[in-house]
Amino acid sequence: MRLPLVRSSAPAGHRTVWWVRAALGALGLVALGYAIFGFLANVPPAQLIGVAAWLAVALLVHDGVLVPLTTLAGGGLSRLTYGLSPVQQGIVRGALLVGAVVTLLGAPLIRAQQVLQPRGPGSGANGTVLQGDYALALGVFWVVLVVAAAAVVAAAGLYGRRSKVRKTRS
Protein backbone atom coordinates (compact mmCIF):
# COMPACT_ATOMS: atom_id res chain seq x y z
CA MET A 1 0.00 0.00 0.00
CA ARG A 2 1.42 3.38 -0.99
CA LEU A 3 0.96 5.89 1.77
CA PRO A 4 1.30 9.56 0.93
CA LEU A 5 4.25 11.21 2.57
CA VAL A 6 3.79 13.36 5.61
CA ARG A 7 4.39 16.95 4.62
CA SER A 8 6.36 18.12 7.57
CA SER A 9 9.72 19.81 7.59
CA ALA A 10 10.88 18.67 11.01
CA PRO A 11 12.25 15.12 11.18
CA ALA A 12 11.27 14.99 14.87
CA GLY A 13 7.64 15.52 13.79
CA HIS A 14 8.04 12.62 11.35
CA ARG A 15 9.19 10.34 14.12
CA THR A 16 6.36 11.36 16.44
CA VAL A 17 3.79 10.81 13.69
CA TRP A 18 5.31 7.42 12.95
CA TRP A 19 5.06 6.39 16.61
CA VAL A 20 1.51 7.69 16.95
CA ARG A 21 0.48 5.81 13.81
CA ALA A 22 2.14 2.62 14.98
CA ALA A 23 0.55 2.86 18.43
CA LEU A 24 -2.91 3.65 17.06
CA GLY A 25 -2.64 0.88 14.49
CA ALA A 26 -1.57 -1.64 17.11
CA LEU A 27 -4.35 -0.55 19.50
CA GLY A 28 -6.85 -0.79 16.66
CA LEU A 29 -5.76 -4.32 15.80
CA VAL A 30 -5.92 -5.38 19.46
CA ALA A 31 -9.45 -3.95 19.81
CA LEU A 32 -10.53 -5.65 16.58
CA GLY A 33 -9.07 -8.94 17.75
CA TYR A 34 -10.86 -8.55 21.09
CA ALA A 35 -14.12 -7.85 19.22
CA ILE A 36 -13.76 -10.94 17.02
CA PHE A 37 -12.95 -13.07 20.06
CA GLY A 38 -15.95 -11.51 21.86
CA PHE A 39 -18.30 -12.30 18.99
CA LEU A 40 -17.13 -15.90 18.71
CA ALA A 41 -17.25 -16.49 22.46
CA ASN A 42 -20.56 -14.77 23.23
CA VAL A 43 -22.79 -14.85 20.17
CA PRO A 44 -24.20 -18.22 19.02
CA PRO A 45 -23.35 -19.22 15.40
CA ALA A 46 -26.94 -18.87 14.18
CA GLN A 47 -27.00 -15.28 15.47
CA LEU A 48 -23.59 -14.59 13.91
CA ILE A 49 -25.10 -15.42 10.53
CA GLY A 50 -27.83 -12.88 11.30
CA VAL A 51 -25.21 -10.25 12.20
CA ALA A 52 -23.25 -10.95 9.00
CA ALA A 53 -26.45 -10.64 6.95
CA TRP A 54 -27.31 -7.30 8.57
CA LEU A 55 -23.77 -6.02 7.94
CA ALA A 56 -23.91 -7.03 4.27
CA VAL A 57 -27.39 -5.61 3.73
CA ALA A 58 -26.39 -2.34 5.43
CA LEU A 59 -23.50 -1.92 2.97
CA LEU A 60 -25.67 -2.82 -0.02
CA VAL A 61 -28.52 -0.50 0.94
CA HIS A 62 -26.23 2.40 1.79
CA ASP A 63 -23.73 2.17 -1.07
CA GLY A 64 -26.04 0.69 -3.66
CA VAL A 65 -29.25 2.62 -3.03
CA LEU A 66 -29.00 5.59 -0.67
CA VAL A 67 -25.90 7.37 -1.98
CA PRO A 68 -26.77 6.89 -5.70
CA LEU A 69 -30.23 8.27 -4.88
CA THR A 70 -28.73 11.40 -3.26
CA THR A 71 -26.63 11.93 -6.40
CA LEU A 72 -29.69 11.59 -8.63
CA ALA A 73 -31.62 13.96 -6.37
CA GLY A 74 -28.74 16.44 -6.48
CA GLY A 75 -28.69 16.36 -10.28
CA GLY A 76 -32.46 16.79 -10.50
CA LEU A 77 -32.28 19.68 -8.06
CA SER A 78 -29.72 21.49 -10.21
CA ARG A 79 -32.23 21.40 -13.08
CA LEU A 80 -35.19 22.43 -10.94
CA THR A 81 -33.39 25.41 -9.43
CA TYR A 82 -31.69 26.45 -12.67
CA GLY A 83 -32.89 30.04 -12.68
CA LEU A 84 -31.94 30.76 -9.09
CA SER A 85 -28.78 32.50 -7.96
CA PRO A 86 -26.01 30.39 -6.36
CA VAL A 87 -26.94 31.66 -2.89
CA GLN A 88 -30.59 30.78 -3.40
CA GLN A 89 -29.67 27.34 -4.73
CA GLY A 90 -27.50 26.86 -1.67
CA ILE A 91 -30.40 27.74 0.62
CA VAL A 92 -32.71 25.26 -1.18
CA ARG A 93 -30.08 22.52 -0.92
CA GLY A 94 -29.38 23.29 2.73
CA ALA A 95 -33.07 23.19 3.64
CA LEU A 96 -33.58 19.92 1.79
CA LEU A 97 -30.56 18.40 3.50
CA VAL A 98 -31.85 19.38 6.95
CA GLY A 99 -35.29 18.00 6.02
CA ALA A 100 -33.72 14.75 4.81
CA VAL A 101 -31.75 14.35 8.05
CA VAL A 102 -34.83 14.90 10.21
CA THR A 103 -36.85 12.52 8.02
CA LEU A 104 -34.12 9.90 8.34
CA LEU A 105 -34.67 9.98 12.11
CA GLY A 106 -38.44 10.59 12.07
CA ALA A 107 -39.47 7.94 9.53
CA PRO A 108 -38.31 4.93 11.61
CA LEU A 109 -40.30 6.32 14.57
CA ILE A 110 -43.47 6.40 12.46
CA ARG A 111 -42.80 2.87 11.19
CA ALA A 112 -42.04 1.58 14.69
CA GLN A 113 -45.28 3.11 15.92
CA GLN A 114 -47.22 1.31 13.16
CA VAL A 115 -45.58 -1.98 14.14
CA LEU A 116 -45.65 -1.67 17.93
CA GLN A 117 -48.65 0.59 18.61
CA PRO A 118 -50.88 -0.24 15.60
CA ARG A 119 -54.03 1.38 16.97
CA GLY A 120 -52.47 4.55 18.28
CA PRO A 121 -50.16 5.29 21.20
CA GLY A 122 -50.96 3.28 24.28
CA SER A 123 -52.55 0.36 22.43
CA GLY A 124 -49.38 -1.73 22.68
CA ALA A 125 -47.94 -3.44 25.70
CA ASN A 126 -46.26 -0.28 27.00
CA GLY A 127 -48.11 2.98 26.58
CA THR A 128 -45.15 5.14 27.60
CA VAL A 129 -43.03 4.43 24.53
CA LEU A 130 -43.68 5.86 21.03
CA GLN A 131 -46.53 8.00 22.24
CA GLY A 132 -45.84 11.15 20.20
CA ASP A 133 -47.64 12.09 17.00
CA TYR A 134 -44.51 11.76 14.91
CA ALA A 135 -46.20 11.90 11.51
CA LEU A 136 -47.80 15.24 12.43
CA ALA A 137 -44.53 16.54 13.91
CA LEU A 138 -42.63 15.59 10.75
CA GLY A 139 -45.31 17.15 8.54
CA VAL A 140 -45.28 20.40 10.53
CA PHE A 141 -41.48 20.42 10.51
CA TRP A 142 -41.43 20.16 6.70
CA VAL A 143 -44.06 22.90 6.31
CA VAL A 144 -42.08 25.26 8.56
CA LEU A 145 -38.86 24.34 6.75
CA VAL A 146 -40.35 24.95 3.29
CA VAL A 147 -41.94 28.25 4.32
CA ALA A 148 -38.75 29.44 6.01
CA ALA A 149 -36.58 28.40 3.06
CA ALA A 150 -38.96 30.06 0.58
CA ALA A 151 -38.92 33.26 2.63
CA VAL A 152 -35.11 33.30 2.78
CA VAL A 153 -34.84 32.53 -0.95
CA ALA A 154 -37.25 35.39 -1.71
CA ALA A 155 -35.37 37.72 0.65
CA ALA A 156 -32.06 36.78 -0.97
CA GLY A 157 -33.60 37.48 -4.37
CA LEU A 158 -34.90 40.90 -3.30
CA TYR A 159 -31.62 41.82 -1.63
CA GLY A 160 -29.70 40.71 -4.74
CA ARG A 161 -31.90 42.83 -7.00
CA ARG A 162 -31.65 45.88 -4.74
CA SER A 163 -27.86 45.70 -4.51
CA LYS A 164 -27.72 45.33 -8.30
CA VAL A 165 -29.95 48.43 -8.71
CA ARG A 166 -27.73 50.35 -6.33
CA LYS A 167 -24.65 49.28 -8.25
CA THR A 168 -26.02 50.57 -11.56
CA ARG A 169 -27.03 53.88 -9.96
CA SER A 170 -23.68 54.61 -8.43
Binding site: L32, A58, V67, P86, Q89, R93, V101, V129, Q131
Partner: protein, 405 residues
Protein backbone atom coordinates in the same frame (compact mmCIF):
# COMPACT_ATOMS: atom_id res chain seq x y z
CA UNK B 1 -8.26 -9.88 -20.86
CA UNK B 2 -6.41 -6.60 -21.12
CA UNK B 3 -9.21 -5.14 -23.17
CA UNK B 4 -11.76 -6.22 -20.59
CA UNK B 5 -9.72 -4.61 -17.79
CA UNK B 6 -9.41 -1.37 -19.76
CA UNK B 7 -13.12 -1.43 -20.53
CA UNK B 8 -14.00 -1.98 -16.85
CA UNK B 9 -11.60 0.73 -15.77
CA UNK B 10 -13.17 3.19 -18.19
CA UNK B 11 -16.68 2.29 -17.03
CA UNK B 12 -15.71 2.67 -13.38
CA UNK B 13 -14.08 6.01 -14.08
CA UNK B 14 -17.20 7.16 -15.90
CA UNK B 15 -19.40 6.10 -12.96
CA UNK B 16 -16.91 7.64 -10.57
CA UNK B 17 -17.05 10.88 -12.57
CA UNK B 18 -20.84 10.81 -12.31
CA UNK B 19 -20.52 10.67 -8.54
CA UNK B 20 -17.71 13.14 -8.24
CA UNK B 21 -18.63 16.51 -6.92
CA UNK B 22 -16.41 19.47 -6.15
CA UNK B 23 -17.84 19.19 -2.66
CA UNK B 24 -16.31 15.79 -2.14
CA UNK B 25 -12.92 17.03 -1.05
CA UNK B 26 -10.41 15.62 1.40
CA UNK B 27 -10.75 18.71 3.54
CA UNK B 28 -14.51 18.07 3.83
CA UNK B 29 -13.84 14.43 4.72
CA UNK B 30 -11.35 15.46 7.39
CA UNK B 31 -13.71 18.03 8.95
CA UNK B 32 -16.61 15.53 9.02
CA UNK B 33 -14.26 12.77 10.17
CA UNK B 34 -13.20 14.82 13.19
CA UNK B 35 -16.78 15.34 14.31
CA UNK B 36 -17.77 11.74 13.65
CA UNK B 37 -14.63 10.41 15.33
CA UNK B 38 -15.39 12.51 18.40
CA UNK B 39 -19.05 11.43 18.46
CA UNK B 40 -18.07 7.75 18.10
CA UNK B 41 -15.44 8.01 20.84
CA UNK B 42 -17.78 9.72 23.33
CA UNK B 43 -20.53 7.24 22.44
CA UNK B 44 -18.12 4.32 22.92
CA UNK B 45 -16.83 5.54 26.31
CA UNK B 46 -20.29 6.29 27.74
CA UNK B 47 -21.55 2.96 26.39
CA UNK B 48 -18.60 1.16 27.95
CA UNK B 49 -19.36 2.86 31.29
CA UNK B 50 -22.96 1.67 31.09
CA UNK B 51 -21.81 -1.84 30.22
CA UNK B 52 -19.32 -1.92 33.12
CA UNK B 53 -22.01 -0.76 35.56
CA UNK B 54 -24.21 -3.66 34.48
CA UNK B 55 -21.45 -6.24 34.21
CA UNK B 56 -18.85 -5.01 36.68
CA UNK B 57 -15.28 -6.33 36.71
CA UNK B 58 -13.63 -6.68 40.12
CA UNK B 59 -11.74 -3.36 39.80
CA UNK B 60 -14.85 -1.34 38.99
CA UNK B 61 -15.29 1.90 40.92
CA UNK B 62 -18.94 2.74 41.61
CA UNK B 63 -19.91 6.37 42.01
CA UNK B 64 -23.18 7.34 43.65
CA UNK B 65 -22.70 11.12 43.30
CA UNK B 66 -23.78 13.12 41.47
CA UNK B 67 -27.10 11.29 41.61
CA UNK B 68 -27.69 12.28 37.96
CA UNK B 69 -24.42 10.65 36.85
CA UNK B 70 -26.13 7.96 34.79
CA UNK B 71 -28.70 10.43 33.45
CA UNK B 72 -25.75 12.37 32.02
CA UNK B 73 -23.65 9.49 30.71
CA UNK B 74 -26.48 7.52 29.14
CA UNK B 75 -28.21 10.67 27.85
CA UNK B 76 -24.92 11.63 26.20
CA UNK B 77 -24.54 8.08 24.85
CA UNK B 78 -27.93 8.11 23.13
CA UNK B 79 -27.59 11.74 21.99
CA UNK B 80 -24.13 11.29 20.45
CA UNK B 81 -25.42 8.09 18.85
CA UNK B 82 -28.26 10.04 17.24
CA UNK B 83 -25.90 12.88 16.24
CA UNK B 84 -23.56 10.40 14.60
CA UNK B 85 -26.28 9.26 12.16
CA UNK B 86 -26.24 12.42 9.97
CA UNK B 87 -22.49 12.81 10.50
CA UNK B 88 -21.88 9.22 9.38
CA UNK B 89 -24.10 9.68 6.32
CA UNK B 90 -22.25 12.89 5.37
CA UNK B 91 -18.81 11.37 5.99
CA UNK B 92 -19.58 8.30 3.88
CA UNK B 93 -21.07 10.51 1.15
CA UNK B 94 -17.85 12.55 1.07
CA UNK B 95 -15.71 9.47 0.34
CA UNK B 96 -18.17 7.58 -1.84
CA UNK B 97 -16.10 7.73 -5.09
CA UNK B 98 -13.35 5.82 -3.24
CA UNK B 99 -15.64 2.80 -3.45
CA UNK B 100 -15.48 2.92 -7.26
CA UNK B 101 -11.69 3.06 -7.53
CA UNK B 102 -10.26 0.76 -10.19
CA UNK B 103 -8.57 -1.69 -9.98
CA UNK B 104 -10.51 -2.69 -6.85
CA UNK B 105 -7.61 -4.60 -5.30
CA UNK B 106 -4.03 -3.67 -6.05
CA UNK B 107 -2.21 -5.81 -3.51
CA UNK B 108 -2.77 -7.93 -0.45
CA UNK B 109 -2.30 -4.90 1.83
CA UNK B 110 -4.68 -2.86 -0.30
CA UNK B 111 -7.23 -5.69 -0.15
CA UNK B 112 -6.88 -5.81 3.64
CA UNK B 113 -7.31 -2.06 3.91
CA UNK B 114 -10.46 -2.12 1.77
CA UNK B 115 -11.83 -5.09 3.74
CA UNK B 116 -11.21 -3.29 7.03
CA UNK B 117 -12.99 -0.19 5.70
CA UNK B 118 -15.93 -2.29 4.51
CA UNK B 119 -16.16 -3.81 7.99
CA UNK B 120 -15.86 -0.37 9.62
CA UNK B 121 -18.60 1.11 7.45
CA UNK B 122 -20.95 -1.87 7.77
CA UNK B 123 -20.44 -2.08 11.55
CA UNK B 124 -21.06 1.67 11.95
CA UNK B 125 -24.24 1.58 9.87
CA UNK B 126 -25.63 -1.43 11.74
CA UNK B 127 -24.58 -0.08 15.15
CA UNK B 128 -26.38 3.26 14.81
CA UNK B 129 -29.43 1.60 13.24
CA UNK B 130 -29.92 -1.04 15.93
CA UNK B 131 -29.08 1.51 18.62
CA UNK B 132 -31.78 3.85 17.38
CA UNK B 133 -34.39 1.10 16.97
CA UNK B 134 -33.57 -0.26 20.42
CA UNK B 135 -34.58 3.09 21.95
CA UNK B 136 -38.00 2.44 20.36
CA UNK B 137 -38.02 -1.05 21.94
CA UNK B 138 -38.30 -2.37 18.38
CA UNK B 139 -36.23 -5.48 17.72
CA UNK B 140 -36.52 -6.61 14.08
CA UNK B 141 -33.16 -8.42 14.04
CA UNK B 142 -32.33 -12.10 14.54
CA UNK B 143 -29.68 -11.62 17.24
CA UNK B 144 -29.25 -10.49 20.82
CA UNK B 145 -29.12 -6.69 20.87
CA UNK B 146 -27.00 -6.32 23.96
CA UNK B 147 -24.14 -8.62 22.88
CA UNK B 148 -24.06 -7.51 19.26
CA UNK B 149 -24.26 -3.79 20.09
CA UNK B 150 -21.42 -4.19 22.59
CA UNK B 151 -19.08 -6.22 20.39
CA UNK B 152 -19.78 -4.11 17.30
CA UNK B 153 -18.73 -1.11 19.39
CA UNK B 154 -15.33 -2.75 19.84
CA UNK B 155 -15.17 -3.48 16.10
CA UNK B 156 -15.89 0.19 15.43
CA UNK B 157 -13.46 1.68 17.93
CA UNK B 158 -10.71 -0.71 16.76
CA UNK B 159 -11.43 0.08 13.11
CA UNK B 160 -11.47 3.79 13.92
CA UNK B 161 -8.00 3.64 15.49
CA UNK B 162 -6.70 1.60 12.56
CA UNK B 163 -8.33 3.95 10.04
CA UNK B 164 -6.77 7.01 11.67
CA UNK B 165 -3.38 5.28 11.71
CA UNK B 166 -3.60 4.47 7.99
CA UNK B 167 -4.97 7.86 6.94
CA UNK B 168 -2.95 10.05 9.32
CA UNK B 169 -0.76 11.68 6.62
CA UNK B 170 -3.89 12.66 4.69
CA UNK B 171 -5.64 13.82 7.85
CA UNK B 172 -2.65 15.96 8.87
CA UNK B 173 -2.32 17.39 5.37
CA UNK B 174 -5.92 18.62 5.45
CA UNK B 175 -6.30 19.27 9.18
CA UNK B 176 -6.42 23.06 9.07
CA UNK B 177 -7.39 25.40 6.27
CA UNK B 178 -3.75 26.41 5.84
CA UNK B 179 -2.44 22.85 5.67
CA UNK B 180 -5.28 22.05 3.26
CA UNK B 181 -4.20 24.81 0.88
CA UNK B 182 -0.57 23.64 1.04
CA UNK B 183 -1.61 20.04 0.39
CA UNK B 184 -3.73 21.04 -2.59
CA UNK B 185 -0.88 23.12 -4.01
CA UNK B 186 1.56 20.24 -3.79
CA UNK B 187 -1.09 17.77 -5.04
CA UNK B 188 -1.87 19.75 -8.13
CA UNK B 189 1.81 20.19 -8.95
CA UNK B 190 2.26 16.47 -9.21
CA UNK B 191 0.29 13.93 -11.15
CA UNK B 192 -3.37 13.76 -10.20
CA UNK B 193 -4.43 10.12 -10.14
CA UNK B 194 -7.36 9.14 -12.32
CA UNK B 195 -10.70 9.23 -10.58
CA UNK B 196 -9.45 11.47 -7.82
CA UNK B 197 -11.95 14.06 -6.82
CA UNK B 198 -10.91 17.65 -7.24
CA UNK B 199 -10.82 19.58 -3.98
CA UNK B 200 -13.35 22.37 -3.74
CA UNK B 201 -10.69 24.98 -3.23
CA UNK B 202 -9.21 24.17 -6.64
CA UNK B 203 -12.48 24.48 -8.47
CA UNK B 204 -14.54 27.24 -6.91
CA UNK B 205 -17.89 28.38 -8.16
CA UNK B 206 -19.71 25.13 -8.89
CA UNK B 207 -22.78 27.00 -10.05
CA UNK B 208 -24.96 25.39 -7.38
CA UNK B 209 -24.14 27.91 -4.70
CA UNK B 210 -23.27 24.89 -2.70
CA UNK B 211 -19.89 25.39 -1.16
CA UNK B 212 -18.15 23.17 1.33
CA UNK B 213 -19.10 25.62 4.04
CA UNK B 214 -22.71 25.59 2.89
CA UNK B 215 -22.76 21.80 3.03
CA UNK B 216 -21.09 21.75 6.46
CA UNK B 217 -23.53 24.39 7.72
CA UNK B 218 -26.48 22.29 6.52
CA UNK B 219 -25.10 19.10 8.09
CA UNK B 220 -24.45 20.99 11.33
CA UNK B 221 -27.98 22.39 11.26
CA UNK B 222 -29.47 18.95 10.53
CA UNK B 223 -27.44 17.34 13.32
CA UNK B 224 -28.39 20.19 15.66
CA UNK B 225 -32.08 19.79 14.89
CA UNK B 226 -32.11 16.02 15.50
CA UNK B 227 -30.16 16.48 18.74
CA UNK B 228 -32.39 19.28 20.02
CA UNK B 229 -35.61 17.47 19.11
CA UNK B 230 -34.61 14.15 20.71
CA UNK B 231 -32.35 14.96 23.69
CA UNK B 232 -35.44 16.09 25.63
CA UNK B 233 -36.06 12.43 26.50
CA UNK B 234 -32.86 12.47 28.55
CA UNK B 235 -32.40 16.08 29.65
CA UNK B 236 -35.30 17.90 31.33
CA UNK B 237 -34.21 21.35 30.11
CA UNK B 238 -34.78 20.20 26.51
CA UNK B 239 -38.05 18.35 27.12
CA UNK B 240 -40.05 21.21 25.62
CA UNK B 241 -38.43 20.60 22.22
CA UNK B 242 -38.84 16.83 22.31
CA UNK B 243 -40.58 16.11 18.97
CA UNK B 244 -38.79 13.04 17.65
CA UNK B 245 -37.76 10.94 20.65
CA UNK B 246 -39.60 7.72 21.48
CA UNK B 247 -39.99 8.84 25.10
CA UNK B 248 -41.60 11.80 26.81
CA UNK B 249 -40.99 13.12 30.30
CA UNK B 250 -43.76 13.34 32.93
CA UNK B 251 -45.96 10.67 31.33
CA UNK B 252 -47.03 7.22 32.46
CA UNK B 253 -48.49 6.22 35.80
CA UNK B 254 -47.50 8.70 38.56
CA UNK B 255 -45.81 10.86 35.89
CA UNK B 256 -42.96 8.42 35.28
CA UNK B 257 -42.45 6.39 32.06
CA UNK B 258 -42.12 2.60 32.20
CA UNK B 259 -39.63 0.31 30.58
CA UNK B 260 -41.31 -3.00 31.30
CA UNK B 261 -44.88 -3.29 32.46
CA UNK B 262 -46.12 -5.76 35.05
CA UNK B 263 -48.02 -7.55 32.25
CA UNK B 264 -44.85 -7.85 30.14
CA UNK B 265 -42.95 -9.18 33.14
CA UNK B 266 -45.80 -11.53 34.06
CA UNK B 267 -45.77 -10.51 37.73
CA UNK B 268 -49.20 -8.91 38.25
CA UNK B 269 -50.70 -11.81 40.17
CA UNK B 270 -47.72 -12.38 42.47
CA UNK B 271 -47.23 -8.65 43.09
CA UNK B 272 -50.86 -8.07 44.05
CA UNK B 273 -51.11 -11.21 46.24
CA UNK B 274 -52.22 -10.20 49.77
CA UNK B 275 -49.73 -12.62 51.35
CA UNK B 276 -46.70 -10.90 49.76
CA UNK B 277 -43.72 -10.71 52.09
CA UNK B 278 -40.18 -9.45 51.67
CA UNK B 279 -37.46 -11.84 52.74
CA UNK B 280 -34.22 -10.29 54.02
CA UNK B 281 -31.31 -12.58 54.79
CA UNK B 282 -27.72 -12.49 55.88
CA UNK B 283 -26.02 -15.84 56.33
CA UNK B 284 -28.27 -17.95 58.53
CA UNK B 285 -30.31 -14.98 59.77
CA UNK B 286 -33.53 -14.49 57.86
CA UNK B 287 -36.48 -12.17 58.41
CA UNK B 288 -39.71 -11.55 56.59
CA UNK B 289 -41.62 -8.27 56.38
CA UNK B 290 -45.17 -7.63 55.29
CA UNK B 291 -45.89 -4.38 53.48
CA UNK B 292 -47.36 -2.93 56.70
CA UNK B 293 -44.24 -3.89 58.66
CA UNK B 294 -42.02 -2.23 56.05
CA UNK B 295 -44.15 0.90 56.19
CA UNK B 296 -43.73 0.94 59.97
CA UNK B 297 -39.91 1.18 59.65
CA UNK B 298 -38.34 4.67 59.45
CA UNK B 299 -39.18 6.14 56.02
CA UNK B 300 -36.93 8.43 54.00
CA UNK B 301 -37.78 10.50 50.98
CA UNK B 302 -35.37 11.52 48.20
CA UNK B 303 -35.63 13.14 44.80
CA UNK B 304 -33.73 10.78 42.53
CA UNK B 305 -33.78 10.39 38.76
CA UNK B 306 -34.45 7.08 37.12
CA UNK B 307 -32.42 6.71 33.91
CA UNK B 308 -32.81 3.90 31.46
CA UNK B 309 -30.18 2.28 29.23
CA UNK B 310 -32.39 3.40 26.33
CA UNK B 311 -31.56 6.98 27.23
CA UNK B 312 -34.77 8.31 28.73
CA UNK B 313 -34.72 9.63 32.24
CA UNK B 314 -37.11 11.11 34.73
CA UNK B 315 -36.71 12.85 38.04
CA UNK B 316 -39.09 11.64 40.75
CA UNK B 317 -39.68 11.67 44.49
CA UNK B 318 -39.18 8.27 46.09
CA UNK B 319 -40.09 7.24 49.64
CA UNK B 320 -39.26 4.05 51.44
CA UNK B 321 -36.87 2.17 53.70
CA UNK B 322 -33.12 2.67 53.49
CA UNK B 323 -31.40 -0.48 52.29
CA UNK B 324 -28.72 -0.16 54.98
CA UNK B 325 -31.41 0.04 57.70
CA UNK B 326 -33.01 -3.06 56.26
CA UNK B 327 -29.68 -4.87 56.31
CA UNK B 328 -29.16 -3.85 59.94
CA UNK B 329 -32.36 -5.72 60.90
CA UNK B 330 -30.61 -8.99 60.05
CA UNK B 331 -27.29 -7.93 61.53
CA UNK B 332 -25.56 -7.42 58.18
CA UNK B 333 -22.94 -4.68 57.87
CA UNK B 334 -23.97 -1.49 56.08
CA UNK B 335 -21.44 -2.13 53.30
CA UNK B 336 -22.69 -5.61 52.46
CA UNK B 337 -22.93 -6.69 48.84
CA UNK B 338 -26.43 -7.75 48.02
CA UNK B 339 -28.43 -9.78 45.62
CA UNK B 340 -31.89 -8.42 44.94
CA UNK B 341 -34.51 -10.76 43.50
CA UNK B 342 -37.65 -9.76 41.67
CA UNK B 343 -40.82 -11.76 41.36
CA UNK B 344 -40.27 -11.53 37.63
CA UNK B 345 -39.63 -15.02 36.29
CA UNK B 346 -36.84 -15.37 33.76
CA UNK B 347 -35.47 -12.29 32.03
CA UNK B 348 -31.95 -10.98 32.40
CA UNK B 349 -32.85 -8.45 35.07
CA UNK B 350 -34.97 -10.60 37.38
CA UNK B 351 -32.04 -10.53 39.79
CA UNK B 352 -29.55 -7.76 40.34
CA UNK B 353 -26.28 -7.45 42.17
CA UNK B 354 -25.84 -4.43 44.44
CA UNK B 355 -22.22 -3.49 45.23
CA UNK B 356 -21.41 -2.01 48.65
CA UNK B 357 -21.10 1.54 47.27
CA UNK B 358 -24.87 1.54 46.69
CA UNK B 359 -26.02 -0.58 49.65
CA UNK B 360 -24.33 1.75 52.14
CA UNK B 361 -25.46 4.96 50.44
CA UNK B 362 -28.07 6.73 52.54
CA UNK B 363 -30.17 7.49 49.47
CA UNK B 364 -30.48 3.89 48.31
CA UNK B 365 -34.02 2.89 49.11
CA UNK B 366 -36.37 0.00 49.00
CA UNK B 367 -39.02 2.37 47.68
CA UNK B 368 -42.68 1.89 48.61
CA UNK B 369 -43.96 5.22 47.31
CA UNK B 370 -43.46 7.26 44.17
CA UNK B 371 -44.40 10.94 43.89
CA UNK B 372 -46.48 10.77 47.08
CA UNK B 373 -48.50 7.62 46.31
CA UNK B 374 -47.94 3.90 46.80
CA UNK B 375 -45.96 2.51 43.85
CA UNK B 376 -48.01 1.78 40.77
CA UNK B 377 -48.02 -1.90 39.81
CA UNK B 378 -46.04 -1.00 36.65
CA UNK B 379 -43.44 0.82 38.76
CA UNK B 380 -42.77 -2.25 40.86
CA UNK B 381 -45.51 -2.48 43.54
CA UNK B 382 -45.21 -3.43 46.34
CA UNK B 383 -41.48 -2.54 46.59
CA UNK B 384 -38.63 -1.66 44.29
CA UNK B 385 -35.02 -0.53 44.44
CA UNK B 386 -33.96 3.01 43.74
CA UNK B 387 -30.28 3.92 44.07
CA UNK B 388 -28.44 7.06 42.96
CA UNK B 389 -26.51 6.98 39.68
CA UNK B 390 -27.48 3.48 38.52
CA UNK B 391 -28.93 2.21 35.22
CA UNK B 392 -32.70 1.72 35.40
CA UNK B 393 -32.44 -1.99 34.61
CA UNK B 394 -30.64 -2.47 37.93
CA UNK B 395 -33.35 -0.62 39.91
CA UNK B 396 -35.13 -3.92 40.40
CA UNK B 397 -38.93 -3.83 40.55
CA UNK B 398 -41.39 -6.19 42.32
CA UNK B 399 -38.72 -7.10 44.88
CA UNK B 400 -39.34 -10.11 47.10
CA UNK B 401 -35.88 -11.06 48.34
CA UNK B 402 -32.79 -9.16 49.52
CA UNK B 403 -29.79 -11.32 50.42
CA UNK B 404 -26.25 -10.63 51.57
CA UNK B 405 -23.82 -12.49 49.33
Amino acid sequence: MNRLTTFLQQRMEAVSGRFSSPLRSRRLTVVLGRWLGLAFTVCFLTGLFSHLLQDPPTWMLFLTRPVWLYVATQGIHITTGIASIPLLAAKLWSVFPELLRWPPLKSVVHALERASIALFVAASLVEVTIGLLNTFQWYPWPFSFRDVHYWLAWVIIGSLALHIAVKMPLILAHWSRRSDAAAIASDTEGEVPAGKTVPAAVKPGTGHGWSRRGFLAAITAGTGVVVLTTAGQSFAWLSGLNLFAPRRMDTGPQGVPINRTAAQAGVAEAALAPDWVLTVSSGSVQKTFTLAQLAALPQYSYGLPIACVEGWSQGAQWRGVRIRDLMATVGAPADAELQISSMEKGGVYGRSFMPAAYSQDEQTLLALELNGEPLDLDHGYPARIIAPGRPGVLQTKWVHKVEVI
